[in-house]
Every structure is written in C-alpha cells, then in structure tokens.
Symmetry: C2
Subunit: 269 residues, 2 copies
C-alpha cells in the first residue's frame, strides 16, 4: 500500500501531469523520470520512441512501482500497447485516451482540433482515439514544433508566442468552406503545450474550448491506483537521464513550484 | 588514398559544413553521421555530449575514415580534446577554432558577439578560443534555443524569425554605454544558424559582419586531409541513428540540395 506511482516523460513536460496527479492523489508517493539525455521524443520515429519508453518503464518497474503513467503524448501514442503487453499485471495509463475523452465530452459539434508533436500527428493518434469514442467526429491535427522550444525558453505569453500560435492555428480554424464544420474544441496534445495556453487563447476564435489531458489523466489514474497508492506520504523521487541543474530550472516552470537540482538523481538508460 | 572523411553532427545542422567541405575537396569521399536519435546536443550536459561524440567517432573510425570533422559546435566544445586523445593518429577537426579564427580576422574592434547553443555558451567555448588568438578581445555570447527550432521548421525568413532574432540580438548590441566597445562581428556558433542569416542580418546594426565556421572549417580540413582523401569520387555515404525520412526532408534544407531517404542507412549507437 505504499509503493510509488511511476511517471515518465521525455523531459519536463510530464510535470504538468504529475502536478495534476498530486492534486487528486495527495497521499500517494511518486517516482518521476525525465529522459532528458534523449529528449525530445516528438521528432523521432515510432521504433526509437518505443525503445526509449520500454527502457524508461523497465527502470521504473525495477524501483517497485504500483502503476505507471506515461506522461508524454508521443510515448503514449507509440508505446502504450507494447508497455501493457510487457507488464500485464501493472496498470499502465497514457495521456491520449483521457485527452480524447475530454475532447469528445466537451465538443458540441464533434469537430475537434488537435495540436501535438510531429510524431503524434504522424501516428494519427488523437483521430484514432477520438473516433473510437465518437465515430462521426471530425479531427484536424497540426504539429507545432516551435511550441516546445517556446515553452522551454519561457517565452510563453508575448507577441512572439501569439504570432507562432496564429500561424499554427489559422489553417485549423480559418479555412472553413461555407457550411463546413468548424472546430469548437482544441486539444493541447503535448504536455509542453499547457504553458502556451494563454497565447493560444489569445488567437482562438471565440467559443472554442481548450482541453488538455493532464486533469483527465489524473482522474483516470486516481480511479485505477487509489487503493494501491493510498498509504504514501506525498513524496516525489526525481530521476533524470541528464542535466540535474537544467531539469530543476526548466522543470520548475512546468511543475508550478521550484525544484532542487540536488534532489535530482541522474540515471543511465 | 581513397578512405572517406568522417563527418558527424547531432543531426542535420552539420550538413552546412559538409556542403562547404565538398566545395573545397570535390574529389574526396565522405561518410556523414547524424545522431538524430539523440538530438539536440545543445541543451545537454558536457558529460553526455562527450559520451555521444565518442560513440559517433568510434562508429566512423570503424568505417575506415582518414580524418574526422566534428561538424557540431556543441560537440566540438565538449569533446574535441577527448577525441584527439582517443585517436592520436587521426586528424580531428572541430568547428569552434576555425570560427574563432574567422572572427578575429574579420573584427577591427576585437569586440565580437557570438550566438550559440546553451551548452556552447555555458562552456564559454568561443570566448576561450577567441582570446587564445587575441588576448584583448571582448566576447559577448548568447544562447539562442529557438533558432534551432525555427531552422528545422523552415521558418527562417519572415516576421517571426526576425522578431526572435531581435530579442536575442538586442542585448548584445543595444546596451552599449557611451564609449564602450560595440561588436562589429557576429559569429553564428551553431551549424543550424546559417539558415537564419537573413533574419539576423535584417535586425543587425549596419556594418556588423556575420561569420560562420563552415567555410573556415572546410579550408582547415582541406589543408590537413587533401593528401589523404584525394583519390575519391565525390561520394557521400549517409548514416543516421533515427528517422531516414525526416533526415532527408529536413536535411535537404541544410545541405542545399535534395537528399533521398532510401539512401540513408540507420545505425545503432
């Protein structure tokens, strides 16, 4: 009853998910792994991302976790099935299905826009997950490579962020033929993107709702893991594959409170 | 006399250097390795970049190269000494020292600005190389993380690129106290950055010269390797650690002519 919940991401983006998890599971302990030596995952092939995800999972399983949250959209899209096959007794929770569920629940028109990484878009991961829940739904996806760099640089709320958001969003919302469906819901399909929510909001048409999967994923995890992880003390153990100082400095922005480099253990994968 | 010259980079940025090398050594054969499974190097620790560079070099040495060009500023800053120690009989050429030499030769004021990656700036690599050549020189460096993303996205010549360039450059050129030295030379200290040269030029004060190390590095390599690599046929063998399709698609922009995904061999490091 006091095994930690394992959470991994390519880097610090998954800290937005960890933050939501701690909100709904305040008694649980966590071990968070950021694969900072090989980030980002979003521009890499499915084969390579799957191999990296399997290595992250194996390391966390060796630490005795009671459940695994894949807090990375790209890794969820590529490797969730492989991880569930590899660890049939372990609850494995991804972020795509919860994000798709939130979008379907939120949308009246069932026309949904998705911003994600190159890899997630190439795999058509959100379209598949959304149309599994709502077969008639229309999904328009767009890869937004610059959002990751803007979020890591901390340039999230100014004219440059808005100009970048406008360039990515205009083709999703601007080209509707008369009578065509227009998205009324926008999924932030990468854990870096919630930091850009204000810039995105500033250029979105009125009435479009923004959905991110952090909160829905956290509720899923709570449902599946509450009895397994109830007796912890709310602690987080920090692991990264490179750069404790940078992990703490950039990660603090995503986690919403300061992290200490001295508390980050560097591990080899 | 027909062994190829090995060239490596974290990804496709080094293709700007390969292009210059082919210009000065048209008869030589090359084997180019992009470590695309682990790019970028510029945000990672010296220890990790050194390990990656050693693995890249070992793979190329096993292919029988007659010389090694480290076509990546971050890897040159971190690992050049380690590589020269590991392969004492092999000419190993980096891009920082040639870039520093070009800047010192170009600058009248010996006040030099450098744009580079986070890692290259943290290591103070250009300041050390420049002041070794010109002890009284002043060097102002700035890490430009977004330039890499802009170059890979192909957004290199428009209003967003200029706004980003302005934000990075203003602190280097805008804050001179009366009588203080102002840089008259700007080093593009990352192989991605030559693609942003037009946007940088548009926001630079008049009279500031832009220097990149591709051409100077190529001339260095020609001098050291001409007799070893003279009898080739101008061929390039393409290696990458991930994503042949993306390597060809994004790499073409850096190489200046189309690359074929089918000709890219995927290797494991």
């Amino acid at each position: 009853l006091n095994a930690p919940i394992g959470v991994f991401d390519s880097g610090v983006g998954g800290l937005t998910v960890l933050r939501a998890l701690r909100g709904v599971l305040p008694g649980a302990d966590f071990v968070y792994l950021g694969d900072t030596a090989r980030l980002p995952y979003g521009t890499k092939s499915v084969l390579t991302v799957t191999r990296y995800a399997e290595q992250c999972a194996a390391l966390l399983v060796a630490r005795g976790i009671c459940g695994l949250v894949v807090a990375c959209n790209t890794a969820s899209a590529a490797a969730l099935t492989a991880l569930r096959t590899a660890y049939p007794a372990l609850p494995v929770i991804g972020v795509i299905e919860p994000g798709a569920r939130a979008a379907v629940a939120c949308s009246r028109s069932q026309c949904i826009a998705v911003l994600a990484t190159e890899s997630t878009v190439r795999q058509d991961a959100y379209r598949l997950a959304i149309t599994r829940l709502s077969p008639a739904a229309q999904v328009r996806s767009r890869a937004c490579a610059l959002f990751v760099a803007l979020a890591e640089e901390g340039w999230t709320e100014d004219a440059i962020a808005q100009a970048v958001a406008r360039r990515y969003l205009d083709p999703l919302f601007g080209d509707a033929a008369p009578g065509a469906a227009v998205p009324d819901t926008l999924v932030l399909g990468c854990t870096h993107f919630p930091l850009l929510a204000e810039a995105v909001r500033a250029v979105l048409p009125d009435g479009v709702q923004i959905v991110d999967s952090a909160q829905t994923t956290a509720l899923d995890a709570a449902q599946q893991l509450r009895t397994r992880a109830a007796a912890g003390q709310g602690r987080v153990q920090w692991l990264a594959t490179d750069g404790a100082e940078r992990f703490a400095r950039v990660g603090g922005r995503f986690f919403g409170s300061a992290l200490l480099a001295a508390e980050v253990e560097i591990v080899n994968l």
